[in-house]
Structure formats: structure tokens, C-alpha cells
Symmetry: C3
Subunit: 524 residues, 3 copies
Amino acid sequence: MFKKILLALTLALVVLAGTGTCFAGDPPKPDPSGASIGTAADVVNATSGAPSAEDMEKMAAAEPLATKLADVIGHNRIAINMTWVLICGFLVMFMQAGFALAETGFTRAKNAGHTMGMNMMVYAIGMLGFWICGFALQMGGSGGAASLGGGGVLDSEFVINLFGKDFGLFGTKGFFLGNDVYDGTVLTMFLFQMVFMDTTATIPTGSMAERWTMKHFCVYGFFISMFVYPLYANWVWGGGWLSQLGANFGLGHGLLDFAGSSVVHMTGGVAALAGAIAIGPRLGKFRADGTANAIPGHHIPMAIAGCLILAFGWFGFNAGSTLAGGDMRIGVVAANTMLASAGGAMTAMLYMWIRFGKPDISMAANGLLAGLVAITAPCAFVTPIMSVVIGGVGGMLLCISVLFIENVLKIDDPVGAISVHGVNGAWGMLALGLFADGTYGDGVNGVKGAVTGLFYGDASQLFAQLIGITTNIIFVFVVMFIFFKVSNKFVKMRVAPEIEQEGLDMAEVAVIGYPEFSINKTHR
Amino acid sequence: MFKKILLALTLALVVLAGTGTCFAGDPPKPDPSGASIGTAADVVNATSGAPSAEDMEKMAAAEPLATKLADVIGHNRIAINMTWVLICGFLVMFMQAGFALAETGFTRAKNAGHTMGMNMMVYAIGMLGFWICGFALQMGGSGGAASLGGGGVLDSEFVINLFGKDFGLFGTKGFFLGNDVYDGTVLTMFLFQMVFMDTTATIPTGSMAERWTMKHFCVYGFFISMFVYPLYANWVWGGGWLSQLGANFGLGHGLLDFAGSSVVHMTGGVAALAGAIAIGPRLGKFRADGTANAIPGHHIPMAIAGCLILAFGWFGFNAGSTLAGGDMRIGVVAANTMLASAGGAMTAMLYMWIRFGKPDISMAANGLLAGLVAITAPCAFVTPIMSVVIGGVGGMLLCISVLFIENVLKIDDPVGAISVHGVNGAWGMLALGLFADGTYGDGVNGVKGAVTGLFYGDASQLFAQLIGITTNIIFVFVVMFIFFKVSNKFVKMRVAPEIEQEGLDMAEVAVIGYPEFSINKTHR
Amino acid sequence: MFKKILLALTLALVVLAGTGTCFAGDPPKPDPSGASIGTAADVVNATSGAPSAEDMEKMAAAEPLATKLADVIGHNRIAINMTWVLICGFLVMFMQAGFALAETGFTRAKNAGHTMGMNMMVYAIGMLGFWICGFALQMGGSGGAASLGGGGVLDSEFVINLFGKDFGLFGTKGFFLGNDVYDGTVLTMFLFQMVFMDTTATIPTGSMAERWTMKHFCVYGFFISMFVYPLYANWVWGGGWLSQLGANFGLGHGLLDFAGSSVVHMTGGVAALAGAIAIGPRLGKFRADGTANAIPGHHIPMAIAGCLILAFGWFGFNAGSTLAGGDMRIGVVAANTMLASAGGAMTAMLYMWIRFGKPDISMAANGLLAGLVAITAPCAFVTPIMSVVIGGVGGMLLCISVLFIENVLKIDDPVGAISVHGVNGAWGMLALGLFADGTYGDGVNGVKGAVTGLFYGDASQLFAQLIGITTNIIFVFVVMFIFFKVSNKFVKMRVAPEIEQEGLDMAEVAVIGYPEFSINKTHR
């Protein structure tokens, strides 16, 4: 049956795409020299003392040269922003390699091909799902980004009205990136949003590693990229209801998540939790008496190299989220990002050192990531010193959470994905509500004034954050858990025990990870 | 004898370089504060409604401030382009690591040091060859890039006249990057073109892996970087005859290859084909009855990590080929690039899944690359939907080609280089001729109007593409095959059978790839 | 006792940071939309014919539109510089992964987790040390960077007066990145300087690999990042006395080190030398008769991949050191950088080939790095041809030095760190003094005219370079050697012999690098 579904899907895709040029609406818009984006209007909208539109009209007569120059200045301005967003997007895409190496290194040799394969295919599958409808649902009503010179074509949000207020639920424009949204601005936005979504989609491959069928994984990949991620992301970043909590109900600036502690990491971490529960622990992970066996990762250098790649790509993740190279806050964001990672690695190492007598370097590597996840939401709004603190707390939270999930909850999360992304994502959201220092964020989500946390005088921002955290946990967990349970009826989620014993590589992805290296059976 | 050649070469290089400052012509030109590039003239030449040179002269009197500002605006404009091109060039350079890991992972452990070593040394050797004369032959008559503020010093093309038309054959300026071309613009161009050339040069190390002598490889490295690549590249990108097919004979915009499906990938793939034939299959690859043995790659995580690095670097490859961060088409190019890679990975996985019952993840990884190769030529000219289709077809072509080359042609191509780069390079060139949508490319190669493919109404563009594909296959195959055959007389191409059996590492590159890991002999 | 120190340190950090917002001085400065940096003043200070401040005031009345536009132009200008510096900084950070992989690959499997772990933790530890006081000591009196739109808040240098001249010794502003320096410009500078420092800090992990305790390594990490690196860096880059040798004593432009051949690489290399002497050779490295045993690296693909990552990141290292994307010298710098790496790899390969009969690919990989280290100081001041020569000489120096250090000095440097970074760092500093071609560097260190080396007519520049080299060797060696000797009294530097025999992984970092691969004991 699966083969038939596959065939049908393939056919559908081919037909769809083949006829794409027809059904995609209007004919493509011309941009013969790539210069149609970025004009004098972008200077007018610029922030540092630029002339108003009205001024310019008057002055065109008096200063014809300057008026013409304004066009080039606006073009330059948008080019600075677009190149920045693209380069940062490339860095985020590279994080796929980081996740692949980290997860594979922290799991066993017999599944290396499979773990690596999932982390590669999630890029392709997730991207196609996001292209089909994910992007439209997330950003179709977002209005695009002024900093990229347009995107106003993304103008259609499905909204319901409750208590006399509008609640945006999802966007409805941009399916298949048809001709109606075919321009450099929208496609830049698509690229940037896609790689964020893909980070989310890849996180559960960690908690469900070493026992997940490729078939079910493929179904999952389309599901999360087409529906689950885009909905929550719409609510926070696409103009949806969580982002309007400020404008509508006076809760700070509405839910704020600068680069995705909740949108990306909590969504991934909560999905990872649902998946780990649904799929159950690996064979041999828990003894008959319920105590846990350690199953060490097979390739520590690979795992740590993966973590360093993640730390590298994270600069794009956070600093790119200004959507503007001309927003000089990027310096603050980038420095805060790395300071938090240092704090996280340091406290995770010290925690294990003090508690167990040795600096556990694999926990320290995860601490590095924990710090990064935690600073992702607040990175633009807090001081460097608080960034070290936020990251440092994140590293300790990680250790506590990993031990708790394994020893108390008895959930098997091979790479610690739930603790790194879920727990620290929530912590990062809180941290913004606590420590935002009131120096940045004027006008965000349509609310005047800078973003301010509890310790700097605004409790309502913290309240918005709590609503967002709760929403994410409930929405993502419930939807994903139901998805796992229901889809498992149709496509088996977990491999047969003998395949799990033998390793998933040959059975599931038709390769052997290391066909020539002698593998020491005692660690199987 | 080889030692003597080596010594002579070394000496020659030292003497050459040592006297470089003398023979390199004029004394170096001053640019004391790095500000001599990018002036008001670059605004005048800018595309979005900038004033003409004449206008500016008149207005200097009326608007002295604006006139002075124009200088800074022009400087900013060029800086945006130069930083973009450099960063993209860095990303392409990083693809060397991707190729090294992918090729090494897909071959055997006993040759890991050698495969890795070739992929590293091709960077050094190719660069020196390109520095000596490759760059001059390719770009010496190209006129440089206006988007980088100059390069007009590259003004000398060797041209022959046939049928009353000029046929540019090769450039003649820029040897050794002497003082006559010593400025930031030309050197930026050198860097960008060099890393493209090096991609080509490294492709045949895949098809000829596990049996090639380092000596012969070194000779090859200089040959392809000094002569073969630069000539074809000149014809397409350096102002040579293929680029003039439009202006001279009315064939669309002349041969178009936005980022190198033919210039880089077909050249590499066809050279890989010539090499694989010339060197013959690995011992044990084909049985006595002619059927093929599978020789699995020894390190799948390494191979897939390499492919992900390639996908990362490819953003620089394609989006950098605008040679301008201010050309807002970069958003379209980058998004199309990644969409095609998803299409390729997906269809390659599905093809193997449906045909052989399992999703072969190593084929899917190659499918990712196939999609990237295919979109490289048309990426700036097609819609996102067609990009998915082009990549998707590429992934299927890959599978069919790999099976055909191995089972029908009986050619041993250890990593599938011929199918990935050669076959899909040709497909990408065709795809441009078929699907270019008429929205971009005004003025390219001196032809007015946007680039338009067969399905959008211009059959002549497709014809130009066919001429290019044919030219590449014939030129590269003939020259490289003759080179391999002739050079083999002087420097032996293939290692002795006992070395091939033992592994090339110690004999050829004086290291053992993995001296401490126990290697399972059954896979040798 | 160590536990107590740890606890105390942790507590101290937590208290420090927790109270950070109080003791960090003034309240945070607002920058509500990230637009406070980069104004018309930055146009006025721009280099290409921009109007003077006075001019602008006069013209504001006559040309109000142009005057307003000037603000946006200045903002664009700074944005180009800041995005460039940040992206280059990210690339340099990625070099951590390169170092980690190169060092781990070139050492033994039994210590893979430990070597990898040191290279990761040095990022966290070094960053925290630099955050606490390193940055303040280095840059606190530097005046910041005009190209980044400010940083003038870094205005406090401790100076002593000798012979009637001022000698700057260290900065005194910016501790903990408190609120007094909390803006995008300073934090961009912090990020960029931090990743450079961290490169230095990671170099000795190579020469001291496979025998260093984590405890002592942690102490070392704080020491070098808080004190040793910042002091020398202040003298060269922070406005300190070596940079003033030109202005004060007429020695060229004072000590010049464009991107850190001495500041980064010599400091690291000399510290590596002191450490290797202090810690002594690995067990079994030298036989009873004093001859050396070869201890081959366990993973050549990993090592070479690491070197390619380093070559990739080095583009950021060198070209980012303009601190300005608008300084078009970046094209020259980037091309020179890669040309030197090709020269170094080539000559190292040829040297070994000619001398020992085989092209030793691990030496060639180190030759690539040697070329990069050598060009780091002179990259902006020399011609492309001389770059090949400088790199080529570097590759040969490397081979000679590696053999000399091992066979004559009997020092055990597992990865050749002393030769790559120390010896070639010194060569790079000299090369600048010899070959600077008089085309660039007007006004650097307050000295008029372009930078000129001995062969282009200025012997005094070479003299400044010699003073710098000598200072670095004496200062770094003496301080680090004393540090190693004294600290060893309190925290043991070297692991017990049985741990060294067994491998440091489980004992020191609580993991096994490869728990599942069978390790071949003969290579232990």
C-alpha cells in the first residue's frame, strides 16, 4: 500500500509541478535587470532622519539631482538588507549539517546512515512541504518585510473575530510560490523562513533516533512543515493572534520571540517530546527495574563538530532575524548570542564536574546549544551581562532536565533534544519577559515604546510570554501526539525489533554507515 | 626523471616569482586607503533611475552637496557588490571541503588519505595554474565587471574573424596577476573565478578515485586549470564566441549559463568521463562476466556531510553569479537553487524506493547534488515551480544515468561524478532553453530584452544552448582524452595493482587514512 | 581543593553576573530601532570626496533634501562595514571547528574526545575571560573604529611616559561589557576581537595535546584570554606602544600586523612552545637514544577537512581585518590570502617529495596553514606574486622547522603548532617589512604615506617589525613559561602516566571518543 501512496504522491507532484506554470495565476512579473526593488520610497521609509515623501515631492523641483540620487540610495539600502538576510539564511541552512553530525555522533554506529539520512531528507521533505502550503499559511498574511523592499503582496490572513478583536489564524497567499508572489523580496523571505522551519523539523529526529521508520518519518516531515510549524509561526511572526496580544489586550508588545526560542525550538522540542513518548524507548534503554542504561554516542568528534557548526550557523539565526543589515542592533544580537553559548557550555561543564566529579564534555556541548536556544528569543533585548546569565542558567537547566527526563519521566531522548530545545526554548521566552532592558523594539507588533521586561518595569510583557509558552506546549503537543498515534495506524512508526537490534541502516536507508570499520559489539 | 622535472618546476617557480616584481610590468598602482574604487560614475551607471553623466555635470553647479554625495553613493554601491561577490566566493571555496568529504566517504577506507589529499591539493595546484595563465586566458578580454567598479583593464581578447563575424578565442591579459591588473576589482574577480574553476578541477578526482597516481594527478591539475577550463569559460563568460551567438547570429542571448552548469559542471563531468575511460575500472569492480560489483563507500556520515556542505556552498555559487549584491534577483536565484535541490533529493529517493524497494540514501544525497547542478544554469531565469521540476527531473536522470553508466557502458565512476555533473549539467543547460520565463536578463551578452525559453516563445535560445552543450562535450572530451593518453606515456597514470590492492594511502601520499581503526578486509 | 576553587569561581561568576546590571554603571542606552549608528557624520568622514562637516552646514540651507539624504547615505555606509565585520567574524569563529578537527585528526583515537573537548571549551572559557577583562585591557583605549560608526567610548588607555614619549600599556574600559560600552559598534568589535583571541588560545592545545589535564587547561584558558593575549594585542592593535613606534620614533608606520601574524599566531605559537617544553613529550615519543618515534594522526580525512575549514575561515580573518566592507582593499587581501595558501601547500608537498620521495599530504595540509599564517600580516600590503612567494617560503620553513623541533630540539609538538603558527608568524611579520609595496596604508597608526618595505625603499618599517617579533617572543614566552611552571604547583598540568597510556577521554572528559570502533593497539 505504501508503494501505491508513494506512486500516487509522486504522480501528483509531477502533475502539479508540470502544470505549475498554468495554475500559478498571473504570468511572471518582469524584473529585467534585477533593479525593480529598492527605490526612493525605501529612503523615505528609512529610519535615520530621511525626508518624508511629501518633502521629496516638493524638493524634486528644487533639487533634481538629489531626487534622482534618492533612488540609488534606497536601492543600496534594500540591497544591504537583502544580502544580509540571504547570507544569514545560508548560515542557518548549514545548521542542517550541524544537526546531522551532532545527532549521528551522539547515537550508535549501526544507525549512522539512517540518522544522517533523516537529517538530510528532512531538508528536502520539509522544504517541499513548506513550498506547497507551509509558507503560505505562515506568511501569506504577514505583509512581507519593508526592510526587504516589499512583499506587500503577502496580504491575505484568515481572521476570526472574538470579543470584538481580530484573531489572525493563518495566511492564505503564496501556495507553491506561484506567479502572484514571484519576486526577489518574497523569495528571500521564503528562503529565510524555510531554513528556520527546517530546524524545527529536524529536532525530533534526535529524540526519535535509532528506531523510526523512514516511511513514517517522511509522512511526519510533510505534516510538520505543511501545517504544525506554519500555524504557530503565523501566530507569532505572520501577524497572527499571539503577536497582537499587545495591540489588542495591552500585554507588552504582544508575544515576542526575536529569533525563535518558541517558534523554532519549543515547537521542535515539544514535538520531540510527543514523538519520544509515542515511539517509546530504544530496546535496552531501560532495565527491568526501570533504571536507565547509558547508551554512549559512537563518535564524539563528529558530535562536537556538529555542535560547533550549529554555533556558527546560529549567528545567522539570531542576527539575521532583524531582517535588515541596516538595523545596527545586529552587533548586539551577535555578541549576545555567543556570550550565552559560552555561559551555557561553562555551567553545564561545571554542573557535571561538581556533581559527578568529571567535566562531561558531551553535556558541555549540549550546554553550548542550550545557551544558544535560551538567548534566541531575548538576544536583541538584553544586555551582554544578562546574556551570559541567561545562557548560564540554560546550561544548568539542561543538565537537570536531561537527568529528570531520563531518570524520573523514563523517556528515552537519545540526544537530549527535549531538554536542549524544549526546556531551554521556554526558558528563553521567559527570560525575554524578565530581562528585556527597554532599549530596543520601538513599534514592534504595532506597539509604541521599547520592549521592557519585568525587572525593568513591565510585567505585562512577561504575561504575554507565558501565554505564548502555554499555547505552544498545548498546541504542538496535542496536535503532534494525535498525529503520531493516528498516522501510526496507517504507516508503522517503529521498526521491527530485529531491525532495531541489527541497526536500521541497511533495512531502512539501503546503506551501511561504516561497512569497513570493525564495530565493537559490546556497545550495541 | 620525475624528480628532476619536479626540481626544475620548483626552481622555475621560485625564479619566476622571485623576479616577479620586475617582469610584472608597471609598478603597483597606489590605493592608499582602499577608496579608489567606486565613485559617482558608478551611480551614473547604476540601473534604477540614476542621473546621466551629463546631467551630473550640469547639476554640480546647482547642487554641489548632492554632487559630492554621489561619490559616496557610488562607493557604497560597489562595496555592496564586492562584499557580496567575495562572501559568495568564500562559500564556493568551502565546497572544496564538501567535495573532499563526499568523495572520500563514498570510496574506501584504504584510500581515504589519498582521496582527501587529491581534493585538497587540487585547490593549491589549480589555483597556481589559474594564477599563471588560466585567469588571463579566461577573463583577459572580458572587460571586467562594471558591478565591481571596473576591471576594464582586462581588455585584450584574441579574436579570429570568420564569415565576417568576430570569434573570441581567449584572453591575453592578467598572467601571474602582474602589476597591470593589480587592483581590488580584478582580484575579486580572480578569486571568484578561481573557486569556480577549482570545482571543475576536483570533479574528476571522483571518477578516477582509488587508482590515480599523485604524479599524474598533479600534471592533470595544472593542465585543466591552465588551459581546458579557461578556454571554454572564455567562450561563455569571458566574451568569447559562444556568448556572442546571440549578437552575431540572432540565437537568443547567445549561450547562457548563469552559474556554470556547462562551464563548471559539464566540463568537470566530461573530463571525469574521459578520465574514467582512460584509467579503466578499479580492480574487482567488474566480474569476469561483465556484471558490476557494488563497492560501497566506507563512511556514509562523512559523505552526506560533504553533500550538505556542497548544498551550503552552492548558494554562493549561484547567487554570487549576479556579481552584484545590488541585483535583487539574488533572492530568486537563492530560493530556486534550494528548491531544485529538494526536488532532486526527493525524486532520487523515490526512484530507488519504487524501483528497488528501499530509499537509497546515498543516491538521495547525489540527487540533492544533481538538482543543484541542473538549476545552476537556469536559476535566475525560471520560476520557483519550474525549479522544483528541473531539480526533480535531475534527480531521476541521475539514477538512470548511474545505472546506465555502470551496467551498460561498464564505466567505473566511484562517486557518480559523470552522472551528477556531466549529465545534469547538460540537462540544466537545456532547461534554461526550455523554461526561461522572460522576466530577467535584459542586455545580457549585448542582446536586448529578457531571456526567454522555448515554452515561453523563443526557440532560438534553446538552439544556442544545444550548440553550447555540443561544443562542451566535443571540446572537453577530445582534449582531455588525448591529454590522458599522451601524458600517460610520460607520467604513469595508474598505480600498480599491488598498491591498488593494498590501498594508495602510504604509497602515494605517505600517510594512512586511519592507522588505528581496524578495517574489515571483506570490503576491500 | 580543586572542587572548592570551582565552586568559589562559579559562585563568584553567578554573583558577579547577577549583580551585573547594578555594577555595570549607567543604565543601558536606548536605540529603539537600531538606527542610532551611522549618520551624515559618517559620510563626512568617508574617504571618497565627501563633503566636510562645515560644507554640509552651509549647504543644509541651500540643499535641504540632499542634506537629509546624507543621513541615510552615512547609515548605509556603516551598515556595509558592520555586516562585513560581523560575517567575517562568524567565519573566524568557525575556525574553532577547523582547529578542533585538525588537531583531533592529527592525534590519536584514544584521546579524540579530550582533544575535541579542549578545542570546544576554549571557545567558552576564552570568551568568558575576554568578556571579564581581556577586551577591556586590549581595546579599552583604542578609540574604537570609525568605520563602524563609533566606539569612541573606548577612550581610556593606561600610559606611561619614558624618554618624553607616551607608551600605552593597556586599556581600562569595557570590563564585563557593562552598560557604558553597550552599543552595536562596541559589541561588533568585541565579537571580532574575541574570535581572534580564541584562535590564539586554541593553538597550544595542539602542542600540548594528549597529556594535558582539563583542570589545568581551564586555568590556562582564563589566563591567556584575560591577560597575555590582550596585553600584546593592545600594544599592536589597541593603540599601545608598538603601534606608536612610527609616530614616536619614525620607524615606518610603527609595528604593523594587518590581521595577526604576530598578535594571533606568534602569541599562540610561542605559548605553544612554552607549553610543550613545560609539559614534556608524550610517553613513547622519544626513544632512549633520543631519536623520535613517529606517532601518526588517527584520522587523516578529519584532519584535512579541518585544514580546509581553517582556509575557509581565514578569508574572514584577513579580509575582515579592514574593519570595513567599504575598504575596497578587501579584494586584494582575500586573493592574496588564498594565493599564499596555495604556495605553502605546494612547496611543503614538493619539499617532502623531493627530500623523502613521497608527497606527504599531512605536511602539505600544514603547509597550506603555514602559507596562511605567513600572509596574515602582509596580506593588504603586497602584490599577488609576492603573496605566492611569501606562502611558498612559509611552506618550506614549516617542513624545516617541524623536522628541527622534533629531531634537534627534541620537543614534542603533536600537530606542528609551533612551526605553523610561531615560525611562520614571525616570517609573516618580516615579510611585511621586506615586501610592502607602497600602495596602501596611508595614515595607519597616525603615519602619513603608504606602507613600504625594505625592497621598496623603507628599512625603518622592517626595523619596527623586528622589534615587534622580539617583543612577542620574549614577552609571551617568559610570561607563559612562568605561568606554566607556577600554576603547575597548584593544579597539576600533566595527567598520570597510566591515564596517558590508556587515553585521556574517560578520565578527563567523561566520554570515549569512539566507544564502538575497534582500535588497533599497535598504534597506541
